[in-house]
Symmetry: C2
Subunit: 446 residues, 2 copies
């Protein structure tokens, strides 16, 4: 059983419901949509991400013999027979990865026989929620520090291996420069960055020796960690070492700060390096950073050229989850509506139309029904899979990243800031509102 | 490249440092320890978890041809040759899973040739940090609601698939009753629980039909979701349906509430069920629950028998990460110390000794050097792997769970509460304090 692609990566109730659907032969077409109910605190928009992984999952979804054997004693034989030939044969419409979106807007729509659309719910949310969460977090650092090198340093405190890999992907997609996670570089072709750890310094007899040995071992990427004992003293050791390395044609590309008052140390270190003629040696900072600390450092004009952002990014520290739901909006041609308190949904299959100002900035969106409810805005949901097959080849991650960056240029200024801006206008079309009322009336009359 | 077991699941700097260590033939024994600097907000203790997954990772660590091919253009040929025959041949000492522990206490110690101990750092933290995070969060619900059925419902908003699986494992280990995640049941033999989704209700022509069909399809586990439209009205439909099902020897085991004022609905529904003779039908609640909401519901004497806890558990919502570090404490027989501002470490290889009161409650711990610093308390760190081989067979998860539950009985009352208690006394032995001073003095004199 492959922990990342098994169809058992689902909640038990999906199987229980499936068995019941099949007994009743309820296999007509269902339409489910994925949307968020509200923005996480502090966010002004979300960045759609995770679609390519989801399409991979759907294309390859089948039960292995081992999985069927495990299920067999727990379910009816006829249900197991059904699962033996289970494949996803439905359609997927989605906002392209990198699209900016807002509450109440479906960013994914599944159209498939009910049992299929139901079984995949848990993994759909699991994948899209997480990558969207991280892309939306990463976007904030990119927007306030567009000219800085931003690197994902979060693998160690990400929630497991898949989280680390997807966080590297989602943050790169959102405009980061790269990651330190080697496997993410290998799997997704994301640029890799790295320096050295404190243990490297500690393992040597002294700091200067450690610096020198590292430089000779890695002459093309000499970034020296200078905070193990005394930051400014270490910066002076770097200056002392530089001529010897220069004689061997080795440049000291950068130094890294990882503790203490980063702004103060950066000013001191910049001064020491410049006095020593190392004007081209950059300063890289890390250590419990997030977009708020970045903003403080930028305001203090700290001479820092790049930032490693770890834990706060990979766990989306200030908002480690958001409220999203995958809901049945239509079954057997009939719109459906959930009315639970505080959790009601907009029924029917829907499209999101986007409008821009004459200057090309985001103006407003309209959520409308797909049929008989026409608008002329940009249609954000596109077909990406039909009858279980991807329509387009997998989109290169670099291209998605360009799309995201282009999207940022259309954000009104207030929405690019860390502070909460006025909510972006998302309107529910009159026809959709009427449909909801009509369904409520039908329900009351039963 | 297996995303969960690849040796590329590491930070780039580990490889860069390794290459340099090998050039310098720095392959003497290193001792690294994993510890936390401080408790997450609101926590009174941590629950160690994740060790078995780590030992699996270490036992199987090797580079595939594909991985070596990917590395080859990026590193020296002699380094690639070294990686070809790379295996973990070191020792692992650890607190058994389920052990309660505190800041400054090493809960894992790696003793291995420096390059080996270094390469595995990123995945060690990645695995142990996350499972310990979730076990420590889950423990809080278990302690305040020891007589309730507690089920992990968090897969969909866990950070990827591995996080969902490890969260199911860690919460069960910490005393939860089970999980809804099917694959976690299959892989770890964790009891599975599940009911139905709103979509099941919505897909049927009406709620009563949905209830009836579900009961006939799943006669052994009839738990009906009653909040899709109107909770109390649905409870009355359940009562109406009961005699028909009873005639076919089907019991309605429970109902589930998922929205609104859970305490008020539970009181109303309990009354409706009891009036209808369904005294044995339990009430299960879910919907954005965490230990604080549990406490509120328990205080309100809400007649709820079990709780599904999802997002807040699987992402450890109030503390999605904690400050832990894997630090070099000894190399080539010599203790090492990092002194970075706010991040200094206690040097040398250490043991944690635990003392109990005459009543068997936790009294205090002492962190001391392994050699020449004897104490008579319970030694918390045990050897679990020697020369790269597990000492014991994999411990069954049920046994670990029993160990955790036994550990809770030794907690002083204040530490079992959700509120922050007085910090548990952890003392650094005088010999260890002397060693730190001595290393600082040596450093200053250089």
């Amino acid at each position: 059983m492959n922990p990342l692609s098994s169809p058992l990566l689902s909640d038990l109730y999906q199987f229980t419901m499936l068995q019941s659907y099949l007994e009743q032969d309820m296999q007509e077409t269902a339409v489910f949509e994925l949307f968020i109910r509200k923005l996480p605190p502090g966010r002004n928009f979300m960045v759609a991400a995770g679609l390519e992984e989801l399409l991979d999952f759907l294309e390859n979804l089948e039960f292995s013999l081992e999985e069927l054997d495990w299920l067999a004693p727990r379910f009816h034989p006829s249900f197991i027979d059904y699962l033996k030939q289970f494949r996803f044969s439905g359609d997927v419409h989605a906002m392209p990865e990198g699209t900016l979106f807002f509450p109440h807007e479906p960013f994914l729509r599944i159209t498939a026989p009910l049992p299929q659309a139901q079984l995949i719910e848990s993994r759909i949310i699991n994948l899209l929620h997480f990558e969207t969460l991280i892309a939306s977090k990463a976007a904030r650092s990119v927007l306030i520090a567009p000219d800085k090198l931003l690197v994902d340093f979060g693998m160690r405190r990400a929630h497991g291996a898949e989280a680390a890999l997807l966080a590297a992907r989602a943050s790169y997609l959102a405009g980061f420069s790269g990651t330190a996670t080697v496997l993410a570089g290998a799997l997704y072709d994301i640029p890799l960055f790295g320096t050295m750890a404190h243990s490297y310094i500690q393992a040597h007899v002294d700091e200067s020796t450690a610096f020198e040995r590292f430089a000779y071992s890695n002459p093309d990427n000499v970034v020296l960690l200078i905070d193990t004992y005394d930051t400014e003293a270490a910066a002076r050791k770097v200056v002392t070492l530089a001529p010897k390395l220069a004689a061997d044609h080795i440049n000291i590309n950068g130094v890294r700060l990882d503790s203490g008052d980063l702004a103060a140390h950066a000013h001191n270190v910049r001064h020491i390096l410049d006095q020593g003629g190392l004007n081209n040696t950059t300063i890289f900072a890390s250590g419990n950073l997030d977009e708020y600390k970045l903003q403080t450092l930028l305001s203090a004009k700290a001479p820092i050229d790049g930032f490693g952002i770890g834990t706060a990014l990979d766990v989306s520290m200030d908002a480690p989850a958001f409220d999203c739901a995958y809901k049945l909006q239509e079954y057997a041609g009939k719109p459906r509506r959930k009315r639970s308190e505080g959790k009601a949904t907009w029924p029917g299959r829907k499209q999101v139309y986007r409008y821009y100002t004459p200057d090309g900035e985001l103006s407003h969106d309209i959520v409308a029904l797909v049929e008989n409810d026409p608008y002329d805005g940009q249609q954000l949901l596109e077909p990406v899979m039909l009858a279980g097959q991807r329509i387009h080849p997998k989109r290169p991650l670099h291209d998605i990243r360009q799309l995201t960056l282009a999207g940022y240029t259309r954000l009104p200024k207030a929405m690019s800031a860390l502070e909460t801006a006025t909510a972006y206008p998302v309107t529910i079309s009159p026809a959709l509102q009427d449909l909801a009322k009509q369904l409520d009336a039908e329900m009351m009359s039963r």
